[in-house]
Symmetry: D2
Subunit: 167 residues, 4 copies
Amino acid sequence: MSRLAAPSAHAGQAAAPDARALREVARARVIYGDTDQMGMVYYANYLRYFEIARNEYLRVVGQTYRAFEESHGLMLPVVEAHVSYHKPARYDDELVISAATFARGAASVRFEYEIHRAHAAGGVGEKLVSGHTIHACITREGRVVRLPAELRAAVGLGDEREPRRDG
Amino acid sequence: MSRLAAPSAHAGQAAAPDARALREVARARVIYGDTDQMGMVYYANYLRYFEIARNEYLRVVGQTYRAFEESHGLMLPVVEAHVSYHKPARYDDELVISAATFARGAASVRFEYEIHRAHAAGGVGEKLVSGHTIHACITREGRVVRLPAELRAAVGLGDEREPRRDG
Amino acid sequence: MSRLAAPSAHAGQAAAPDARALREVARARVIYGDTDQMGMVYYANYLRYFEIARNEYLRVVGQTYRAFEESHGLMLPVVEAHVSYHKPARYDDELVISAATFARGAASVRFEYEIHRAHAAGGVGEKLVSGHTIHACITREGRVVRLPAELRAAVGLGDEREPRRDG
Amino acid sequence: MSRLAAPSAHAGQAAAPDARALREVARARVIYGDTDQMGMVYYANYLRYFEIARNEYLRVVGQTYRAFEESHGLMLPVVEAHVSYHKPARYDDELVISAATFARGAASVRFEYEIHRAHAAGGVGEKLVSGHTIHACITREGRVVRLPAELRAAVGLGDEREPRRDG
């Protein structure tokens, strides 16, 4: 988790949050419909929480994915998803959902996620799941294009002329 | 359920199947992802089986819903759904899914459903769920229109000049 | 929506909320995973919102369904579900989820639901969906039993000696 | 199903299928409920197809996961899942689901998956998705234990004294 402590990659932009630091972006309450007969959240459903994380991450930085689609005519379909299951989430657990973004060249973006159980008092408890997704930036016709500068800036990815050390 | 035994409503069309008689249209195997922590199929997921029933019902009568959308530019959004839960379906059960169609005026159609558990030997066992859905026929712009004659014929609904006793 | 304005059915218990008046119990944001290719929330997923409504309704009145299961050893499996679809919910819509409870004899309970779209400003907009579910009260062994008095009181159902005019 | 008969990948049993070779184990038809408003199968739902693959893989080799749980009192919870999305699956596509198993030490197993689109004629078309899951073998109390020899043999993993070259 050293990532969480990492200083901003953008020296001189002290006020800007570090896109690569995980930040809490949403809470979700586990319902019966999320569980399976093992009494845990069904393994596919964590990808739903990851989507909630992406949506709310973008909202937090002043964008919405809906507006992104509508104003730019672009989509960010997932090309890879990875989940590590550490401990099970159970019915009625409150989940703390965190996300970070990483550059992946000019035409794709990587989201990192962690899901923790909330304490009854509201604080953040043990880590349940971690993972990532990688998304291409495509037009409605399916052509791969650069991420719009506006989105890169909003998620703190800088512009594409910067050297990249990650991804 | 006298419906099952009912002879065709279209006297003189002896060879035509009665759209209003439930017929088996699909089988489905319950997976973990369908269950919840009560160890039963989650109540919302029976509506997925109902959709399988509609798709396969149309395929059985020589149509597909995809072709219907593409060739006619029409959709059949659901306006009402009803489910009666008799006994729980459980993990790894094989389900026998049956459907029938009923007229609902000129611009809508009603599907009836029953889901039974299959015997290990493949036969039809106890009834688990029954229900219905009602669908409007609309254009892509949302305007309500008559069901195409081709679809009415395919599902055995006759034409709209016939008096209707049901629905 | 006259129900929302309805005065309490329990004269003389002015302080008690009327279980039979719909009250807002939760908000939910529509994600891609809730939609289908028609660009609307998939019809089965409204039953997930109804479950959120039940969970949060119980939490609002000082119970949780989890505690109910654990302390009483009882479950409330659904025996009937009904949904009327008025207008589609779409991706990124914020939904306002309301619920009410009605007595159904001594051993079952009925929940009513309405889902409205939230205005951008946070207020309650147009009605999208309404419906109900009926639940039996059973032991872990599947025996039907009376609703515990504690639950009846919590949801404002009164005790079973009262005459019932509904359900 | 001649595919099955088979004991393991041990030398001297040249005719035996290799557990580590992908084999078709199931077909699935995409329904509306699997898609999202992008008009493709929602990314989480491929993990449902992966579960179908595991269930049917075990059935094909003469086991069922249900029997495994019941007779051994063991479970195989997922500890890692990975999906690569090559091309989108769309509504009403028939999917060809293939799986293979790999040893992962004595107490875990790895499944590999591929999902292809079926040709209209029934043959196997383009690859849509590939991925893997890793599962621990645990008791109902959560203790990690060796995979039962019976399961190892059924899936062609050989016994644990063998040197492992994979996973």
